[in-house]
């Protein structure tokens, strides 16, 4: 298929033309003493020489061994590197739990407007009115979509939102003279949940999923007690199933005085359909880099705004945004927040990402937002129907925006979920998430997202079904994959055993 990455992404050409080896060089290996890309002015001021301003005690004597390359070397190096990478703009990316949807170009353009991109974080409120108005409308819209009262934009990603929410949970209990020690999470939860719980000074207690793939409500009730600060839940959960007992769960948690935390990783599937606040949640983080279509940048940046119900509002990180109080008044940051848990980010969070999310929101409107959920759920269920004979889902029933299949039936021929993933690469698709959630054997977690077309999903299903057939007739073909990529099956054990974590000349 034409979508596969070109082997070596152009390096072969370079090898012929420029004498590079088959190994793609690191930037340091392109270095030649005296070559340069930089262009900077002289100091051109009437000031003492550097050595008269900085005493020898502080002067660097050995220059760092940074590469010395021309600008064209630099441009070709990173352009070719980028070509050795999959991306949404290159092809389908059905990673479960990641909501890898199309990132609109208009949002990118908007974030780079000088009035946003060149704003200094210490510029006075009167100088950033457009930016604050944008954040104000975005806050109101996200609170409306989640059914919450207020939010903070400081968290730079979901995990930072989790910590912020858990610290607010702690502040809430402590304000009532209530010391609690544990937070309950389902066994299917994302790893950041227990990690954030520990960082907040709580103990994470897992409850198991039942045969439906949902929270075992009886087990949950047994775990709930006066030590319970709260429950963290993703709904729909990581299996792509809606926790239909959510009202009973919320009542039980609230009954013991606990709070409900909504992990917004899967918010994409319910936006405009049902709101976390209406389900009984008190605290909600959103992953704007998932639901609100901001680019994921190869691992970040994200943005993880945290919204809360009215009774938790006073604990939000300071400052919070204050809208104009009267006609002609200004937007401003309100720093006078005596009960705030404090600051969580150097400045105002990932503002540039919030601008992109705002542009996305404004491009959709209320009908468009609901359509996001409808089409995401439709695409997932359609794909599930096309492949469930070969890759049955781990739990019965309709899914939401994603589903978890198991590849365990291929094991009799020695083919694993990872082999399926690698073979899928050769057929022109980024693989689904594999081996997560941990509660499913040989898991393939698939999330097509709403921006993929029927033909793309038909093609992905055909590829998966082809692999299932190959696993039976020609398992070695599957196990030898991928063959179309610049490298194949890197030795991860060797990487961890013989640590090479930075370049050094040999």
């Amino acid at each position: 298929m034409s979508r596969t990455l070109e082997p070596s992404g152009g390096t072969r050409t370079a090898a012929r033309a420029g004498g590079d080896t088959d190994q793609f060089p690191v930037i340091f290996e392109r270095s030649r003493p005296g070559r340069r890309a930089w262009s900077l002015p002289d100091a051109a001021v009437d000031a003492p020489a550097l050595d008269d301003l900085i005493p020898a005690q502080h002067r660097r004597t050995t220059a760092p061994a940074l590469p010395e390359v021309s600008e064209l070397d630099l441009v070709r190096h990173y352009t070719r590197l980028s070509q050795r990478n999959w991306a949404i703009d290159v092809g389908p990316y059905p990673l479960g739990s990641c909501s890898m949807k199309y990132n609109p170009k208009i949002a990118e353009q908007a974030a780079n407007l000088p009035g946003f991109a060149s704003l200094h974080p210490f510029a006075g409120d009167e100088l950033v009115q457009g930016a604050l108005e944008l954040l104000g409308i975005l806050e109101r819209s996200l609170c409306e979509a989640t059914g919450m009262a207020r939010l903070t934009f400081q968290p730079a990603a979901g995990a930072q939102g989790e910590l912020t929410g858990l610290l607010m949970m702690r502040a809430f209990h402590e304000s009532r003279g209530d010391k609690r020690t544990k937070v309950i999470i389902p066994d299917s939860a994302h790893g950041t949940n227990p990690a954030s719980v520990s960082l907040a000074g709580y103990r994470a207690e897992e409850v198991r999923s039942d045969e439906r793939g949902l929270v075992d409500v009886d087990a949950l009730k047994q775990a709930l007690d006066q030590e319970t600060a709260g429950l963290m839940l993703t709904n729909p959960n990581t299996l792509g199933l809606f926790e239909r007992d959510i009202k009973e769960i919320a009542a039980a948690v609230h009954e013991v005085g606990g709070l409900l935390y909504y992990d917004g990783a899967n918010f994409n599937s319910i936006v405009g359909v049902v709101r976390p606040g209406d389900m009984g949640f008190d605290i909600v983080h959103m992953n704007l880099h998932k639901t609100f279509a901001t680019p994921h940048g190869g691992g970040g940046p994200g943005s993880g705004p945290l919204a809360v119900s009215e009774r938790l509002e006073r604990f939000l990180p300071a400052p919070v945004l204050a809208p104009p109080a009267y006609e002609g008044d200004r937007w401003r940051w309100d720093h006078d927040r005596p009960d705030s848990i404090g600051r969580i980010h150097s400045f105002h969070g990932n503002f540039g990402i919030n601008v992109r999310a705002y542009a996305y929101l404004r491009s959709l409107g209320p009908e468009g937002l609901r359509l996001v959920a409808e089409r995401a759920v439709l695409n997932a269920n359609y794909l599930k129907a096309l492949i469930e004979e070969a890759f049955p889902t781990a739990y019965p029933g309709d899914c939401m925006h994603e589903f978890v299949s198991t590849a365990k039936s291929l094991r009799k021929k020695g083919v694993k979920a990872m082999d399926v993933a690698k073979r899928l690469i050769d057929l022109g698709y980024h693989p689904p998430t594999v081996y997560f959630p941990l509660v499913v054997d040989e898991a393939l977690m698939v999330e097509p997202t709403e921006t993929e077309s029927k033909e793309t999903i038909d093609g992905l299903a055909a590829a998966l079904n082809q692999i299932a057939a190959e696993a039976d007739t020609d398992p070695e073909l599957v196990k030898a994959a991928p063959t179309s990529t610049p490298v194949r099956r890197p030795d991860e054990a060797k990487a961890a055993r013989e640590l090479r974590l930075r370049w050094s000349p040999e």
Partner: protein, 444 residues
């Protein structure tokens, strides 16, 4: 969304649903929203474009003013090549590199980033990024707490006040004892007064919030005698002219990477830099790319030492960080490669000498003085005859963005403001700044 109505009908039928509402049958009916969300109506692209331009035009803060503002975010030049390369959609629209065969571009760029950060900081190992400078500092402290099994942390009050607030917030659930160390009249710590007994970490800035250079070497020696680690918050743009934290004995070097190829963007997305020594590698938070060989013996890169991380170790992970700031790290890598050793040295020299020129010029203004004497990198504290926060507001009306004013955090410095001078500010800009202050003071 690409679906035609024919597509929708066929897909619903194949998946066994009567209609679209049936897709949500698993959600209890009484929970469902029975109305459209109350959010603004959709805008077509030309309308949206005009709307965004309108909002941007009403944010004049960084655009129409000459920027001398500092305090952890700086108006450095972003080379055109850096913006073009880091902005490539193949980097920007990719996910975390979990499938190495499809992610060699990001993985190698990150590996190069780690290598470059190690070079400038004089360290053995760097991670593939944290959220921002404050977050990197917190993670440095948490590493020291784990490595020493101590809970007392000494933090210079010459560390960015926001970073100290974030440290307080982040560690509030862990019961750490955070002790602030006061700077002297010269704006730096007195190493002889440092008592690090029982401390997990001593946290200092290089340069510090006042642009001054701490005696990190002596502080490190004293901290190590007491069994404490040194976390050194270091400006990466200074590393062409100032000593590396590694060469001065720091155990963890952390920093804000905004100055390396990233836009001001009202405070984010920036990137937290984090580097340490090899013996602490298993305590490092977040992602690390490593070099290995593939099945055919070719050099390849993978995410490695993942047993430290939340998706494997869960409640016992070194950190909860997952999504980070990879794209900003790639921009930093491209920027450092654009600079090379000579460019980084030039950048530092221009900052130091123009800052000195600004200091000299501002001291010509009656009543104005540089508060902390001694060497500075690219930032100075200027003491004025008036309350500084109102002065900062007035200067903006005169076309200059300065500050922040320091009184909020240091009441004794309520007539002081920060002035940062990057390679983008020349003598004419410095004169404009000085004249704006002169005029403002004359009219008061």
């Amino acid at each position: 969304m690409p679906h035609t109505s024919k597509d929708v009908a066929e897909m619903l039928e194949r998946a066994g649903f009567a209609d679209v509402t049936a897709l949500f049958a698993g959600i209890p009916q009484d929970l469902k929203l029975d109305r459209p969300l109350d959010v603004p109506e959709a805008l077509a692209e030309p309308e949206l474009s005009a709307h965004m331009a309108d909002l941007a035009s009403r944010s004049t803060g960084g655009r129409d003013l000459v920027c001398f503002a500092g305090g952890g975010a700086y108006d450095h030049h972003v080379p055109a090549a850096v913006a073009a390369l880091a902005g490539r959609a193949e980097f920007a629209t990719s996910y975390t590199p979990y499938q190495p065969e499809l992610s060699q571009g990001v993985l190698q760029a990150v590996f190069e980033f780690q290598s470059l950060i190690c070079e400038i900081y004089g360290m053995d190992v760097a991670n593939a990024s944290l959220y921002d400078g404050a977050n990197a500092l917190v993670e440095g402290v948490n590493l020291a707490v784990r490595a020493t099994r101590r809970e007392r942390v000494l933090v210079s009050n010459g560390i960015h006040p926001h970073y100290r607030q974030v440290l307080q917030t982040y560690t509030s659930g862990l019961g750490l004892e955070i002790v602030e160390l006061s700077h002297g009249d010269d704006g730096v710590l007195d190493p002889a007064a440092l008592d690090a007994d029982g401390a997990a970490a001593v946290v200092v800035g290089y340069p510090n919030f006042f642009g001054r250079l701490e005696d990190v070497a002596t502080i490190s020696a004293r901290a190590h005698e007491a069994g404490a680690l040194v976390v050194c918050l270091t400006d990466p743009t200074a590393m062409g002219v100032l000593r590396s934290p590694g060469s001065m004995g720091a155990d963890v070097a952390v920093g804000e990477g905004q100055s390396l190829g990233n836009l001001l963007s009202y405070g984010g997305p920036y990137v937290g830099l984090f580097a340490t020594t090899l013996d602490l590698v298993r305590q490092v938070p977040g992602r690390i790319a490593g070099e290995t060989l593939d099945a055919d013996g070719r050099r390849a890169y993978v995410l490695t030492l993942q047993a430290r991380e939340q998706h494997i170790r869960r409640a016992k992970a070194t950190s909860n960080v997952c999504t980070n700031q990879t794209l900003m790290a790639i921009a930093a890598a491209v920027h450092l490669s654009w600079l090379g050793p000579e460019g980084l040295a030039r950048l530092g020299e221009v900052c130091v000498r123009r800052t000195a020129a600004a200091a000299a010029r501002l001291e010509e203004i009656p009543g104005c003085t540089v508060r902390f004497k001694g060497p500075h990198f690219k930032e100075i504290v200027v003491e004025t005859p008036v309350e500084a926060s109102s002065l900062v507001r007035s200067l903006a009306k005169r076309g200059v963005l300065a500050g922040p004013a320091l009184g909020t955090w240091y009441p004794e410095l309520d007539r002081c403001l920060l002035i940062a001078v990057t390679e983008k500010r020349d003598q004419a800009d410095i004169d404009s700044l000085a004249e704006a202050i002169e005029k403002e003071l004359a009219e008061r």
